[in-house]
Structures are given as C-alpha cells and as structure tokens.
C-alpha cells in the first residue's frame, strides 16, 4: 500500500515538474469536496477502523460536507463501546475520543472517568513516543469534550523531560529510547504531545525548556526540502529511503505539531514566512489525492495553516490564465486563504508582464488591480496598446493593508503566473502561383481567400515551380510566426506529401520546385489536392482550408525509381501494431551427448589405473618412510601439505577466484617449503648414511 502511495507520489512529482517554473496554485474548491465524498464514504456502510473513521469525518468536517446520519450512529455505537471498555488500547481510546469530538456522541456519566484513569495510567507507564502521544492527546481531548472533569497530569515537568529525552540534535525525534533511528514524522507527533503537556500542566513550565524546543524547531526547518526548482514549494521528508511515512504525511505531521505547539505556547513562535507559504503551496500542488490518508493529511494540514498562531498563508490564484484580445474581458485574480476563505484587506499589483520573446523589458509595469467586492476578485481591464498576442509571465505582488489583523498573514514575495494572450491573426495577400522555373515568370496566379475552402484549379509540369505566399500580422500589426504552417499535396491514390511554409518577418512563402521533387513525388502524375494548415496557441482563427487542386504532369517512372508506399484504406492503420521483430540470438555451441562425455570420463581414468597397476608390478614400497617420530611427522605433514594444495586447486576450479587461491597458496607454499625441506634433507641424510655405511 505504501509502495503504491509512493509510486503515485512520484507520478505527482513528474506532473508538477512538467508544469514548469511558474505555475498557478488553486485553493481548495468544490472539486475537492465532490472528490472527498467519493473517497471517504465507506463502501459497505461502516468504517474499517476508528483511525479511518476519524480521518474521514475530520476531512468532511473541514470541507463543510454534511455527515450521513446512519453512518454517524453506527460509528457512535462503536465509539461508546470502545470508551466504555477498560481493555481498549491507548490508540483506540485516542481515536474514539477524536471521533467523539466530531460526532458528539452520548457517552454517559461514567464514561469519562474510566477513560481518564486509563489515560493517566498510560501517561505514567509510557516509554514509547506513541504511548505518550495517545495518552496525553487523549487527556487533552477529554478536557475539551467534558469540561469539569478532573484531569491531573501528575508531574508535568518530568513527563515533558522524558518526552524531550527522545529528541535528537538535528531536530528529529526518536520513537523510543531503544531505537536509534530518528524520524521527522515523530518530531511532529512529539510537538503535539508536548503542546498537550503544556496545556494540561497545572502551573507554568520552565521557560528554558520551551526555549530549547524552539531551537529544535529551527533545526527541523533546516531539513526542509524544496519540491520544484523555482516554484517555491517546500516539504518535509524522512531521511531514510524505506521510511513508512511519505512526504505528505510527514509534512502534515510537522505542521500539526507546530500548530498545536504555537497555540499552547504563550510567548509566540516565529517561523520563516516563505517556508510557510512554500508548505501551503506544496499541499495545494498535490491536487486531489486518490488515497484517503493523503487526502486527510492534505486537508488537515491546510486547515492547520488556515488558522494558526504563527502566520496564515494567502494564495493568489487565477480562474483563467488566458487573455483574449478580441473578447476584451478583464483578467481576474483571486486572493484567498488555502481553504478558500476570504482574505483580509489588501491590494494586488501587477509589477511586470514579461513577454517570452523579450525577457528583459516588461510590457506592463506596476499596474494596480481594481477590486470588485461582490465577487471578491481583483481585475485588470485595460491593457496597453502594445500588448500583443503570445506567451507572457505576469508577476504579481500582494500588499497587505496596514490595519491591525487578528492573525499574521503572509504571502509570497512575488507570484509568477504564465499567461497566454490570444487574438485574431489577419491573413493577407494570400496567393498561389505557378512559375516557369528558369525565368521565374508567372504562368498562372490566383488570389486565395483562406477563410473558406476554395476551388482553385492549377496545372503544372515538372519544369515549373509552385509558389504559395501570404502575410500574417497580429492585431496590433507586428509580424507573426505561427507554430504550424503545413502545405499538403494529396494525390488521387491517397499518397500525401507535407511541406513546411517558412516565415520571415511578416511574409510566409513556400516554393516547390517540381524538377527536384519528381522522385520524391514517386513520378505520380495526376490531380493533387492542396490543403493548407495554419495554427498556433495564440491564434484564435487557426485554419485548415482546402485550397483546390493542381494537375501535375511528371515524366514516366524509370525502372529503378522507388514505388510509392502502399496506402492502406484505413487512415489510422499506421498507428496500428507493426511487424513483429524476430531477434537472432547467438546459437549456442553444440555440446556432446552426456553419455559420451561420461564414457570418456571413465576412459580417462584408465591410464591412471594402469599407472597404479604398473607401480604395484614394479614392487613399489614405502619402506624408506622414516620411522623416527620427528621425521615421520614432517614427512606426514609434507604429504598432507601436498594433499591440501591439490584440494585447494580443486576448490579453485569449483568456486574460488585467483586472488584468494593465491593468498592461500602462498601460505601453504611457505609451510610446504619448510616441511618439505626438512623431510627431503632428512631423506638425503638417511641415504648418505646408507651410502657411506
């Protein structure tokens, strides 16, 4: 499941990376809400676990979607059961309390007391971070839902210290004191837990403890990672590759932790504003996740960013990034919080409009956008006279009004948005002519109206040329180079030829010299239909027009000329499957039959047997094997050494490599040298004695 989530995330990364440097982030909208209904309503009428139920209900609550009553009652029953039983785990009790906070089930009078005592026991016995988290956060939830219940945390400072003992110097946290691996996800959990301890503590905690925590948060922010190269998104991720939490859940956990910490902490938490905006953009850039857990983490993190004590990010978005110069509609810009709520009073300025053609100079400079209170959008309705069609990058800046706000709002320094301006391109002086090739004089010339199909009829032979020319100008009179300008000749036998019309300045021209093209046209004479295509993203009147036909008179095909390719009747068959390729692999060498090899194995052994028989016939004996113990031992060692070397050779052949063999051989060789020398010198001494005696 995690691997699937990881693969999906990689696909998301690819999609966002392709979108390029400047991109528009949209706040949460109704498409999210309708997707949430698909993702979070369980198929068989009940949620599989309290954790899933909590995630689904919290997401639906944040998005403002009504809960189904039968589902709520079924879930409430389960919640009441869990909270009433004394054998529920801390995790179940925690999620049951969370669900109860959303659904507000009727627990009953005795309920809270049992749970409180269970959670307090959990806090006292807790050793792992997750145990601390479930028990402390559970007690915080009980305090919110059942006001008046007596909750005493015991020695809050000791609990604080024991949680803090699991922290690491790089800002991450460990799950337990035994496990040395640290995790960023655990850091988020730890900050939530510590926030709970601070809020439940009967008296103020030591401020120096809180100060060291703030330093830890700064360290944690050092490990933040950039998502895209230039779009200013940031996220948190785990250090190790096979971590169980992906970037979405890790970043959400950190944001949850920091939000609860900032809420509980009295002196205020300062976090770098651009990173907060980057984190908001990361979650908005995810789009609509298909996974329930990712969806919950995205919406929960955005809800934390929407309403927190450090800084609330504001997002600038555009409903449409296309300006049509013919429709003359204003360009609309919306500024809102991440969940789509209203932003405070501010002004939006378009500082620059950089054209893709000339990146240095800006067409529009420092234009303030007007505000429409009814639709809460900012708009720009007048464009300068020299605003031409094409691709632009608009740079917006948001300036917050100075009046005091309850919350601290933060925006991006500059938001770059890609804008496309479209318009009607005027096509003038379109004409097609047949020219005599050597002189260049015009034989026949026809004017064209490219807005409708024509019935031009021309004829040419292979000594002549065909010339097509027209002029393209933008609405304000500049030259225009279209993205696509194709001229197609189609023979009666369906053979097609496509040529590109080249543009230079305002004029676009194509000259086809039939003398050079005779072979390419496969020597096919006859009637050719002419079709012209002009298209571009900025052109509102892209066209494909059948101009007419031309009778071509080409010479006879010689013997060796290539035939035209077979045109199949199906126009899309070229996109069908191609012929299968049969690969030729190296034919493996022919090996002899197994029985033959085995027979020869037997035959090879025969000379060796013959050798042994011959030895016995010769009367070989080992009488001169030394009898005295010293010499016997060295002789035995010598023979043993020889046997070891032979064994080493067999192992070398079977599996060892040369270097290990050489190493072992050098050791054995030194040993054999000594032992052999001793044995042979003793033998020599013995034979000398015999000779002299």
């Amino acid at each position: 499941m995690m691997a699937g989530g990881g693969v999906r995330f990689l696909v998301l990364i690819l999609v966002v990376a392709i979108c390029g440097a400047a991109s528009v982030f949209q706040p949460i909208s109704d498409s999210h809400r309708s997707a949430a209904l698909d993702v979070f309503v369980p198929v068989d009428g009940s949620y599989k676990s309290l954790e899933e139920a909590y995630e689904a209900l919290k997401t639906l609550e944040i998005l403002g979607i009504e809960k189904k009553s039968d589902l709520s009652s079924a879930t409430c029953e389960y919640v009441v059961k869990v909270l009433g039983s004394s054998s529920s785990t801390l995790k179940d009790a925690f999620y049951a309390l969370n669900v109860n906070g959303i659904l507000k089930c009727k627990i009953g009078e005795a309920g809270p007391k049992d749970i409180v005592s269970q959670l307090q026991a959990g806090v006292k016995d807790a050793k792992l971070l997750l145990d601390f988290y479930y028990s402390v956060r559970g007690l915080v939830l009980v305090k919110e839902q059942f006001p008046g219940t007596d909750i005493s945390l015991g020695d809050a400072e000791a609990i604080f210290r024991s949680i803090k003992a699991l922290s690491q110097s790089d800002g991450r946290w460990r799950y337990s004191s035994n496990n040395p691996e640290s995790s960023t996800f655990a850091a988020g959990l730890a900050y939530e837990t510590l926030a709970g301890v601070i809020s439940l503590a009967p008296s103020e905690l030591d401020p120096s403890l809180i100060q060291t925590l703030k330093k830890g948060i700064v360290k944690l922010f050092d490990s933040i990672q950039k998502f895209g190269m230039h779009d200013g998104t940031f996220y948190f991720d785990e250090k190790s590759v096979d971590a169980s939490q992906g970037p979405i859940s890790t970043t959400a956990s950190v944001i949850r932790g920091l939000t609860s910490f900032a809420a509980s902490e009295s002196t205020g938490l300062n976090l770098p504003g651009d990173k907060i905006v980057g984190l908001a953009k990361f979650f908005l850039g995810v789009g609509i996740p298909g996974d329930a857990k990712d969806f919950f983490n995205q919406i929960d993190a955005l809800a934390c960013l929407e309403d927190n004590k450090f800084s609330v990010p504001l997002i600038l978005s555009l409903p449409s990034t296309v300006i049509s110069l013919t429709k003359k509609e204003p360009l609309k810009v919306k500024v809102s919080t991440v969940l789509g709520s209203k932003a405070p009073a501010l002004s939006v300025k378009l500082t620059q409009a950089l054209s893709s053609k000339s990146v240095d100079s800006s067409v529009i400079n420092n234009q303030e956008l007007k505000f429409d209170a009814d639709s809460a959008t900012y708009f720009l309705d007048s464009f300068p006279k020299n605003f031409d069609v094409g691709k632009y990058t608009f740079v917006f800046e948001i300036l917050l009004d100075d009046s005091a706000h309850e919350k601290v709002y933060i925006t991006e320094a500059q938001t770059k948005v890609p804008i496309a301006a479209t318009g009607v391109i005027s096509i003038e002086n379109a004409e097609i002519a047949v020219l005599d090739s050597d002189i260049g004089s015009v034989e026949s010339q026809k004017k064209l109206d490219l807005t409708k199909d024509g019935a031009v009829s021309l004829s040419a032979n292979h000594l002549q040329k065909l010339r097509l020319s027209f002029q393209l100008t933008t609405p304000i009179g500049n030259a225009f180079k279209p993205h696509q300008a194709f001229f197609k000749l189609k023979h009666e036998s369906q053979v097609e030829h496509i040529y590109l019309v080249k543009t230079s300045g305002k004029k676009a021209e194509l000259v086809l010299d039939f003398l050079g093209l005779v072979e390419k046209l496969y020597y096919l004479s006859g009637k050719y239909e002419i079709q012209l295509t002009i298209g571009d993203a900025s052109m509102e009147n892209s066209l494909l027009s059948n101009i007419g036909h031309i009778e071509l008179d080409l010479p006879e095909r010689p013997e060796k000329a290539p035939r035209p390719p077979q045109q199949s009747t199906e126009p899309y068959s070229r996109y069908g499957p191609k012929a299968e390729i049969s690969h030729i692999f190296r034919i493996p060498e022919k090996l002899p039959a197994k029985q033959l090899s085995l027979v020869f194995l037997g035959v090879i052994v025969l000379p060796f047997i013959g050798f042994l028989i011959g030895l016995t016939r010769l009367g070989v004996n080992i009488k001169s094997f030394p009898s005295s113990t010293g010499s016997a031992i060295s002789a035995l060692l010598f023979h043993g050494g020889i046997g070891a070397v032979l064994l080493l050779y067999v192992l070398f052949w079977l599996k060892l490599d040369l270097f290990t063999t050489l190493k072992a051989l050098s050791l054995l060789g030194v040993f054999l040298l000594f032992v052999g020398h001793r044995t042979l010198s003793q033998l020599a001494a013995a034979s000398n004695k015999l000779k002299s005696a």
Partner: protein, 116 residues
C-alpha cells in the same frame, strides 16, 4: 633369407632393449611409467576432442598441456636423478625431486586457472 634375418634382427634388438631396460633401477622405471601415464591421458583427450569438437578450446588446451607439461617435468627429473648422468653427479636426487614438485605445483595452478 634376408627377411628372416631382418625379423630375427628385429627380435634380437627388441630382446636386448628389453633386457637392458629391465636393468634400470626401479625409481627410473617409476618415472617412465608416470611419463607413459601422462602421455596416454593426453592422447585420450585429443581423441575425445577429435570426436566432439574443440568447443571450450581453453579447457582442451589446459588438459593436454597439463599432461604434456607434467611428462616433460618428469623427464627432467629422470635426467637429473639418473646416476649414469655425469653432469648431474653432484645434484642430490631429493633436490631434483623438490624442483619437480615445485614446478608441478606452478604448472597445475596455471592449468587450473586456464581450465575455466
């Protein structure tokens, strides 16, 4: 007449060779036997290769050359150990055997490496 004399001569030659050979000391006969064994093994390998083709040529070469190599070394040992050889009178036979043993060790290391 001539034929019978040549055949008788051949027989006489054969007998004299045989008797001379029987007089050689036993250790030399052992070495001779070893050489014959090595050469026969090489011949059988060549016969096998001629039957089935020389596909892993390195293995064939390795096998044949190990037999020939050890035969050559044995012949050298025989020359050095033979007491009738005046040149090697001062060389102790144990020293010659040590040389034979060492050279065989190196030969077989190379052979096993080349065997593949």
């Amino acid at each position: 007449m001539a034929r019978s004399s040549t055949s008788k001569d051949a027989q006489d030659l054969f007998h004299s060779l045989r008797s001379a050979y029987l007089a050689t000391p036993t250790n030399l006969k052992i070495i001779d036997l070893y050489v014959c064994f090595a050469v026969f093994t090489a011949l059988i390998q060549v016969a096998y290769m001629s039957l089935v083709g020389s596909f892993p040529f390195n293995s064939f070469l390795s096998g044949v050359l190990s037999c020939i190599g050890t035969a050559v070394l044995a012949v050298c040992l025989r020359i050095q150990v033979n007491k009738e050889n005046k040149e090697f009178k001062d060389l102790a036979p144990e020293r010659a055997f040590a040389d034979f043993f060492l050279c065989n060790l190196v030969l077989h290391l190379v052979i096993i490496n080349f065997l593949g």
